[in-house]
């Protein structure tokens, strides 16, 4: 993942795009990657448990939040992490295709 991202960043950096556009691209990539985390994690959070917290706010604590995320991240085998890495890799490949389309080689 880092190698793919590094490659994209180098292509953008070396391109003739105005600095403002480069900055916007970096910002978009950064926000986009972070925005993919929750949809992946949510897949691993039991709906009923989340619903229980949402319907009984008094049960929401920092500890319960951390437990929720820890479990969702896949305490046993980190499957969520693997999923996330795969998702981000796929998206970065697609971003690379867009850059190629705009001659950002």
């Amino acid at each position: 993942m880092e190698e793919k991202l590094n490659n994209l960043v180098q292509r953008i950096t070396a391109s003739s795009q105005p600095d403002e556009v480069k900055a916007e691209l970096f910002d978009t990539i950064s926000r986009g990657m972070h925005a993919l985390v929750w949809p992946v994690l949510l897949k691993y959070i039991p709906t009923e448990r989340l619903k229980g917290y949402a319907e009984h706010p008094e049960t929401i604590t920092v500890d319960s939040y951390i437990d929720l995320i820890s479990e969702a991240s896949g305490v046993q085998d980190g499957q969520a992490m693997k999923d996330l890495e795969q998702v981000v890799n796929t998206v970065l490949d697609d971003v690379g295709k867009v850059l190629t389309k705009y001659h950002i080689e």
Binding site: L5, N6, A35, L36, A54, I60, I66, S70, V91, D94
Partner: protein, 212 residues
């Protein structure tokens, strides 16, 4: 683009350069695809949970409780960082930066007390550290270049004296601008690499340590 993976219905699209808009669309499409794959209503339940978390836990937190939350989050981050050997450090950074909800909320209504100042200072320190690392890399590479250049000049000087190809350069090897040779040896590439690496670091977000 929506925050934390949630579609924001109120967000308005401003005019963007086409390449930026298309890159944004790539992420939006993937996000939508992932959201669609979730169980029905899960997204709205999560939104409700998040709202309640903000209103019931974060908004009413005392200074003392803010201190405690940092300790708990430190444990959580360490746990994430230490586990899952198959996952890359960068993926862990992504998850850690994104799921530390209280940190996401800094500057968005979070009480700007002691911890807020600490967080700002930490972010600044991270930026300074990144700059320092880049400078260090450049200095190391420059020392290497200087060393290589010295060897290069020494060697070619001998060839020039022997009537080799460099002997044809008016004024000999000494006439070659040192900067030009340095760039040829790799100086320019190093600057590009360091800049790119720095951007990559920023994209992933600061490596977070919540130890106080």
């Amino acid at each position: 683009m929506a925050e934390a993976g949630i579609v924001n219905e109120t967000e308005t699209q401003t005019e963007r350069p086409p390449v930026v808009a298309e890159v944004e669309q790539v992420f939006a499409d993937k996000q939508e695809e992932l959201n669609q794959a979730l169980e029905p209503e899960k997204l709205s339940i999560y939104r409700q949970y998040r709202k309640e978390f903000q209103e019931h836990v974060l908004a009413n937190m005392t200074e003392e409780e803010q201190g405690k939350i940092r300790t708990r989050l430190a444990d959580f981050r360490n746990k994430l960082g230490a586990g899952y050997r198959d996952a890359s450090i960068r993926v862990k950074d992504l998850v850690r930066n994104t799921t530390s909800l209280p940190y996401v909320l800094f500057g968005k209504g979070w009480p700007k007390g002691e911890n807020y100042e600490h967080e700002i200072a930490r972010a600044k320190a991270w930026g300074d550290l990144t700059d320092a690392r880049m400078r260090m890399r450049l200095e190391e590479r420059k020392a290497y270049q200087d060393s290589t250049l010295a060897t290069f000049i020494k060697g070619t000087g001998k060839w020039a004296l022997a009537g080799g190809v460099f002997g044809a350069i008016p004024g000999g090897v000494a006439a070659i601008p040192a900067a030009a040779v340095g760039a040829a040896v790799g100086g320019t590439a190093e600057v590009a690499y360091s800049k790119a690496q720095r951007v990559v670091d920023k994209i992933f977000g600061p490596p977070i340590s919540v130890a106080r």
